[in-house]
């Protein structure tokens, strides 16, 4: 059963599903590897830029870096019994295996199993994602903490997400014997379930300033420039840590920031302030939720602050301004599983997801 949406279809309606209801996305671009063996902790600890304090059923959100301290993958590291599970974007299964083998301490063996061979990753995102999943899986979903996961019959459910809404990544057995996907689709009608393609998820990531390995992750920026220092620790060694330490000691000279404009912004656009170039657009696209154009720009530090307006696109003369992230006021902030439900949503007043005054 294919969940692919028509890319040319209305991304805005898919984003609206994510922002206001719940949407299902096929995530075959996501790679999952199960790592095991007697040295698995030492190996994962060696490649993980975060302190590896995890209990069974917990995960952390980090990056895998190369020796130049640029991200090569967006990664969740999950502690699963004696094993670890790596859920990543940015590398193929073979590339991820090669990275692990290259970065593992010499002489330590690792068993690697590609979860994608037997399981199918899909994600559910939206302010009522918890409600649909609790109806289809179990009420356990509601109590699942952020960055927690559990196994069920025919699936593993990870609470994560990169849209700013309630997010669940499901790895479903490919056999489909248990009919979970069919049940999700059937029951989903009661919760306004829509489909969302990758373009819609990418748009949500940008609106929420969630790092996207497939977009700004390709810009060869450091975690310091990307404002991702929370995903790593300066108190341990990992691939790229030496270079990262050098960059930190030198101090940041530029920073990636969220920019907004009424006009088109394109990758590579040079941004000027008072006629002088001060940075460059990494990506830009119209925000389906806000209606204006949002982008990520890398600006010289004196200009990399919200409120700095009057930035001019050298190519077109269009003006843009730096804004604070995130750029939307997610409905999921206000939807409380103890008090709200999709069926009674019209009885509740929620703050606007975005207003022109924001």
């Amino acid at each position: 059963m294919s969940l692919q949406t028509d890319v040319a279809r209305d991304v805005a309606s898919e984003v609206a599903s994510v922002r206001q209801r719940v949407a299902l996305t096929e995530c075959e671009h996501v790679v999952g590897l199960r790592l095991s063996g007697p040295s698995v902790f030492e190996i994962v600890d060696a490649i993980c830029p975060c302190e590896l304090y995890l209990q069974d059923g917990q995960m952390l959100h980090t990056l895998l870096l190369d020796e130049t301290a640029c991200p090569v993958a967006d990664a969740y590291v999950c502690a699963d019994g004696q094993d670890f599970v790596l859920i990543t974007e940015g590398l193929s299964p073979d590339e991820l295996r090669a990275y692990l083998r290259q970065c593992a301490p010499a002489g330590l063996a690792l068993d690697i199993r590609d979860l994608g061979q037997s399981q199918r990753p899909v994600s559910l995102n939206g302010p009522y994602a918890w409600e649909l999943l609790s109806a289809v899986l179990s009420a356990e979903v509601i109590g699942l903490p952020y960055l927690g996961f559990y196994h069920g019959s025919g699936f593993t459910c990870f609470r994560a997400g990169k849209t700013g809404e309630y997010g669940y990544d499901l790895w479903l057995d490919r056999s489909g014997d248990d009919g979970l996907l069919e049940r999700l689709l059937n029951v989903g009608g009661e919760y306004g379930l829509g489909r969302a393609g990758l373009s819609a998820l990418d748009a949500c990531s940008l609106e929420n300033w969630v790092f996207n390995m497939r977009r700004e992750g390709r810009a060869r920026l450091s975690p310091i420039e990307l404002q991702l220092q929370w995903r790593l620790s300066y108190r341990k060694a990992f691939p790229g840590s030496a270079r990262l330490g050098e960059l930190r000691r030198a101090g940041p000279r530029r920073r990636a920031v969220l920019v907004a404009s009424e006009h088109e912004l394109s990758q590579g656009d040079v941004l000027c302030f008072a006629g002088e170039p001060v940075g460059e657009v990494v990506l830009g696209e119209r925000s389906p939720t806000r209606g204006d154009v949002l982008g990520i720009a890398v600006l010289a530090m004196p200009h990399a602050h919200p409120g700095v307006g009057s930035l001019e696109v050298a190519r077109s003369g269009a003006s843009t301004r730096v804004i604070s992230a995130p750029a939307v006021n997610n409905r999921s902030l206000y939807v409380d599983p103890q008090r709200h439900s999709y069926g009674t949503r019209s009885e509740h007043v929620f703050p606007p997801i975005w207003s022109t005054g924001a």
């Binding site: 959100h61 952020y146 960055l147 300033w209 404002q227 991702l228 220092q229 929370w230 300066y234 930190r248 920031v257 969220l258 302030f273 008072a274 004196p302 200009h303 602050h305 919200p306 409120g307 700095v308 009057s310 604070s324 992230a325 995130p326 006021n329 902030l333 206000y334 703050p351």
Partner: protein, 101 residues
């Protein structure tokens, strides 16, 4: 940079530094201030603050910046990142306390 803009940026930087200090000192966050990126998420992932930390932040906003209690209902949407908090302080804080070093 234009002087008015420079002043605005300098004011933001001062408020940001004070908020970073709050996170490190009051919340005993095990990081140095320069690691607290201004657009990083405060809760969930990101700094990983929880609801108890949120109460601490509210108290600090009140005592350090004069944000009035009546504004609290707006806080949920304003505690997304340090930069959004700075915006909130600028809009809702007591100007005298906001400008104090």
């Amino acid at each position: 940079m234009q002087s008015e803009l420079m002043q605005r940026v300098a004011r933001r930087e001062r408020i940001l530094s004070r908020l970073q200090a709050v996170v490190v000192r009051q919340l005993q966050y095990r990081r140095e201030a320069d690691e607290l990126d201004p657009d990083a998420p405060l809760f969930g992932s990101g700094f990983g603050l929880d609801s108890l930390d949120a109460v601490e932040v509210v108290v600090c906003l009140e005592t350090d910046f004069g944000v009035s209690l009546s504004e609290h209902e707006l806080l949920r949407g304003s505690m997304r990142s340090l930069n959004v908090l700075v915006d909130f302080v600028i809009c809702h804080g007591d100007p005298k306390r906001v400008l104090a070093d």
